[in-house]
C-alpha cells in the first residue's frame, strides 16, 4: 500500500498576513526584545548572552536579557536558510528551505487507542515502534516525530529508546524531544553509528527542544540540552508554544508578536553558541478555551496562526516547524476530520517546512489513534495536491487537444488524457465515490473500519528496511535498548 512519496512541493499560496502585517509584527517583536527582554536563569546561558553583547540586568531578583535589534539581525543572518534532514534512505531526505512543504507525525501523547480493543490506554514503547512502521508505509507522511510517551519503560531509558524505536522502524527522518543534556551525547552517538560516521550533512535524526516557557522565559533544563545539541552542530527545533489568552495575549496578533520575539531570542542564543548552527524556527501558537482553560488546537484560528508562523519565518529566511492536524475531538469522528483538514490545508498552503502532529492525533494531543494515521495520510495527500497547485503550460492548457476534439466530442480516447490522468488528480486510498446503492451492497463500511484494516495490513505485512545488523548489535551493546 506504500505509495510514491510526494513531498517538498513549494507552497505559499495561503497568506493570512499581509506584507505590512509581517513587517509590523517583526518591528514590534524587536521592541519586545529590546524593551522587555527574556528571562534567563541558567548561568551558562546568561554568560553566552552577555559575552555575545546582549544586555543582562537583574530586576527584582529576575535575570533579564535584553537584545538589540542590531544583534538580532546579525544573528539571524548567521543562521543557515537551508537545512537537509536525512532519512535512513536517501529518498526520504527532507530539504528544508523556502516554502517547501513536509508533513509528519508528532506529539507527546499520553494515550493510545488500542487497535484491537478500541479502548484508550497508556502509550508504550511498542506503540512508538508500530506507529513508526505505519508511518514508514504511508506515502504522505514525510517524517516521523515520536508520537507518544512510552510509559512502560524506566524514565532514564526513555530518550534513547524513543529515538531508537523510531529509527529501527522507519527509514524516514526521525525526530524526538530532548530535555536532558546528558542524553544528547548518547543520541548523537546513535546517529553517528547509523550514519556510519559524520552526521552533520544529513543527520538521520534531529532534536526538538521546548526551551521556551511562555511568556518570555528560558526553561533552564531544556536550555542546557539545547546548548549541547547546538555545540554538536546538529539541527535543532526551537519549539515555543504559547497559548493565546493564557500564556500570550488573547489576540492572534499579540500571540504572534510574542512568539516571534521568543523565536528570535532563541535564534540569537544558538548563533552566539555556534555561529552558523542549523536552527529551525519552531513556533506553535495555540489557544485556551476561555470557558474552562482547556488547550484548543482544533479551531480555525489555530491554523491561521500556524500558517502565519510560516510567513514570519520565511520573512527572516529560516526554515520553520509548526503544527497542524490536531483536533480537539476525543474520538475519530466527523469533528476530528474537519478540524484536521482545515489546519493541515492552511499550514501546507502557507509553505511550512516541517508540519508535525499532522497525523494520528486526537483529544487536543492527549491521544493517538492507529486508524487515524491512515485517514490523516489521505487528508495530507489532498493538501499536498493543493500545494502542488495548477500547472499551467502549453501541454497542460491542451489547446491542440481542444482543437482536435472540437465541438461535442469527448476526451476519453485522447492520448493527452492517458498521459495526465494518473498524476493530475489525487488518487485517494480510502475515499468512497460510489452511489448509496453500491455502498449498501457492500454493507456500508465506515471509513474508520477501512482505515483499521489498512493498519492491520501494514503491521502484518510491511517490513521497513532494517538497520545494518552489525550496527544494531553495536547500539544494543552500548545502550540499554528495550
Amino acid at each position: 500500500m506504500s505509495r510514491e512519496i510526494k513531498k517538498g512541493f513549494s507552497g505559499g499560496q495561503y497568506k493570512p498576513l499581509s506584507a505590512y502585517d509581517v513587517g509590523r509584527i517583526h518591528e514590534t517583536a524587536f521592541r519586545i526584545l529590546d524593551e522587555i527582554g527574556v528571562r534567563v536563569e541558567l548561568k551558562e546561558a546568561l554568560d553566552i548572552f552577555e559575552r555575545g553583547g546582549a544586555e543582562v540586568e537583574v530586576n527584582r531578583g529576575e535575570k533579564i536579557v535584553r537584545i538589540s535589534s542590531e544583534l538580532v539581525e546579525a544573528m539571524v543572518k548567521s543562521a543557515p536558510s537551508k537545512i537537509v534532514l536525512g532519512g535512513r534512505e536517501k529518498e526520504n531526505d527532507l530539504v528544508l528551505e523556502g516554502t517547501r512543504v513536509h508533513m509528519g507525525t508528532g506529539g507527546a501523547a499520553l494515550n493510545v487507542i488500542d487497535i484491537d480493543s478500541g479502548e484508550k490506554r497508556k502509550g508504550t514503547l511498542r506503540d512508538i515502534a508500530d506507529i513508526a512502521k505505519l508511518a514508514d508505509a504511508l506515502g504522505n507522511i514525510h517524517f516521523f516525530v515520536r508520537p507518544c510517551i512510552a510509559q512502560d519503560i524506566p524514565i532514564e531509558d526513555l530518550v534513547v529508546n524513543q529515538f531508537y524505536a523510531g529509527l529501527s522502524n522507519t527509514t524516514k527522518h526521525v525526530m524526538s524531544g530532548c530535555d536532558n543534556a546528558e542524553k544528547v551525547e548518547e543520541v548523537v552517538e546513535i546517529a553517528e553509528l547509523i550514519a556510519g560516521g559524520e552526521v552533520k550533512d544529513r543527520p538521520p535524526l534531529s532534536f526538538i527542544t521546548c526551551w521556551m516557557d511562555s511568556p518570555l522565559c528560558f526553561a533552564s533544563n531544556v536550555t542546557k540540552a539545547l546548548i549541547e545539541v547546538v555545540k554538536k552542530d546538529l539541527p535543532v527545533i526551537l519549539s515555543s508554544a504559547p497559548i493565546a489568552g493564557l500564556t500570550s495575549p488573547i489576540t492572534l496578533a499579540g500571540t504572534l508578536v510574542q512568539l516571534h520575539a521568543e523565536e528570535l531570542s532563541g535564534i540569537v542564543f544558538t548563533q552566539l553558541i555556534n555561529p552558523g548552527a542549523p536552527v529551525v524556527y519552531g513556533g506553535i501558537p495555540s489557544m485556551a478555551d476561555m470557558h474552562n482553560l482547556r488547550y484548543i488546537a482544533g479551531g480555525m484560528e489555530f491554523g491561521m496562526m500556524n500558517a502565519a508562523i510560516s510567513q514570519l519565518s520565511q520573512s527572516i529566511g529560516l526554515p520553520n516547524y509548526n503544527s497542524a492536524g490536531i483536533t480537539d475531538a476525543a474520538i475519530p469522528d466527523i469533528q476530528a476530520v474537519y478540524e484536521k483538514a482545515h489546519s493541515i490545508c492552511q499550514c501546507a498552503l502557507s509553505g511550512s517546512n516541517l508540519i508535525h502532529h499532522a497525523a494520528g492525533m486526537l483529544e487536543s494531543m492527549l491521544t493517538v489513534d492507529y486508524g487515524q494515521y491512515v485517514i490523516d495520510n489521505e487528508i495530507i495527500g489532498m493538501a499536498m495536491r493543493g500545494v502542488r497547485g495548477i500547472e499551467v503550460n502549453e501541454d497542460t492548457e491542451a489547446l491542440d487537444e481542444i482543437k482536435r476534439v472540437g465541438h461535442g466530442g469527448d476526451y476519453l480516447r485522447s492520448k493527452h488524457t492517458r498521459r495526465h490522468m494518473r498524476t493530475e488528480f489525487f488518487e485517494p486510498m480510502l475515499a468512497s465515490r460510489e452511489e448509496r446503492e453500491d455502498k449498501d451492497k457492500q454493507g456500508l463500511r465506515d471509513i474508520r473500519e477501512l482505515a483499521k484494516s489498512k493498519v492491520k495490513e501494514v503491521l502484518d505485512t510491511h517490513t521497513p528496511v532494517e538497520i545494518d545488523p552489525e550496527v544494531d548489535r553495536r547500539i544494543r551493546e552500548r545502550f540499554n535498548i528495550l
Binding site: 476519453l412 480516447r413 485522447s414 492517458r418 498521459r419
Partner: protein, 227 residues
C-alpha cells in the same frame, strides 16, 4: 522463442498497452515508432499465423486488461485504448476471416430521440468493437422509426440493439423503440443503459439492463451464446 510465439506475445503486450499502431505511445510515454497492434497483426498474418490464433491471443490480452481495470490499476481511457487497439487489429484480420466464412456479429447502437449525450454510447460502441463485434453506430437523437428500419434492413445479422439515454425525459423513448420492435414482430434483444436508467425501468419496457458499458459487453456476448 519461435518467431510466431514472439509476435503473438507482442500483439498481446500492445493490446494491453493500448497501442493501435506505431504512432501510439505506451503508458510511460515511450515505444513511439515501434510496431503496434495494426502492424503486428499484419506481420503475423504474413508470417502464416492463422487468424484464430491471433484472435485467441487478443482475447487473452483483453482478459488481462479487464483484470487491471477491476483492480483499479487501469482507468476507463486505458480500457478504451485497448479496445481501440483490438478494433484496429480486427480490421486487419477481417479479409482473412471472410475468406474462411467467418463474419463478425452485428450490433446496432444509438442514443435515443431527444438526447444528444453520447459519451456512454461511444464507450459501449468502442468496447463492442474491442470484443470483436461489427458495430452500426447510428449516432445521437435517433428516432424509433429509424432504428427499426435499420434493424429490418440488416435483419438476420443483427445480434442486438444497444440504446442509451442520459436524461429521465428522453429515457422514455427507449420504451417507444422496444414497443415498435414488438409491433413489427421483431424479437430483437435490446440492451439499455445510461445514468437515469434502472433495472426496474428496463424490466418495464422489456429490455436488458446494463449498469455500465462493461456489463453491456458481457450481456452482448451472452446474446451470441444464446444464438
Amino acid at each position: 522463442m519461435k518467431i510466431s510465439e514472439e509476435i503473438l506475445t507482442k500483439i498481446k503486450e500492445n493490446v494491453v498497452k493500448g497501442r493501435r499502431n506505431k504512432e501510439d505511445e505506451d503508458l510511460e510515454g515511450g515505444s513511439v515508432g515501434e510496431p503496434g497492434v495494426e502492424e503486428l497483426v499484419d506481420g503475423a498474418l504474413k508470417g502464416e499465423i492463422g487468424p484464430k490464433k491471433i484472435i485467441e491471443c487478443i482475447n487473452d490480452a483483453m482478459v488481462v486488461v479487464g483484470k487491471k481495470f477491476e483492480t483499479g490499476e487501469y482507468f476507463v481511457p486505458d480500457m478504451l485504448a485497448s479496445a481501440e487497439a483490438v478494433s484496429v487489429g480486427m480490421e486487419v484480420l477481417e479479409p482473412e476471416l471472410l475468406k474462411v466464412g467467418q463474419k463478425k456479429e452485428k450490433f446496432v447502437v444509438a442514443t435515443v430521440e431527444g438526447d444528444i449525450h453520447d459519451i456512454g454510447k461511444n464507450i459501449f460502441a468502442m468496447m463492442l468493437k474491442g470484443a470483436g463485434f461489427a458495430v452500426i453506430d447510428m449516432g445521437t437523437d435517433v428516432s424509433a422509426e429509424k432504428i427499426v428500419k435499420t434493424v429490418k434492413a440488416e435483419d438476420g445479422e443483427i445480434v442486438g440493439i444497444g440504446l442509451s439515454a442520459l436524461l429521465t425525459t428522453t429515457m422514455e423513448n427507449m420504451g417507444v423503440v422496444t414497443e415498435k420492435l414488438r409491433e413489427e414482430g421483431m424479437s430483437k434483444s435490446v440492451l439499455v443503459g445510461g445514468a437515469a436508467v434502472s433495472k426496474e425501468f428496463a424490466d418495464k419496457i422489456g429490455a436488458i439492463y446494463c449498469a455500465d458499458a462493461f456489463e453491456g459487453v458481457d450481456k452482448a456476448k451472452e446474446l451470441i451464446k444464446r444464438g
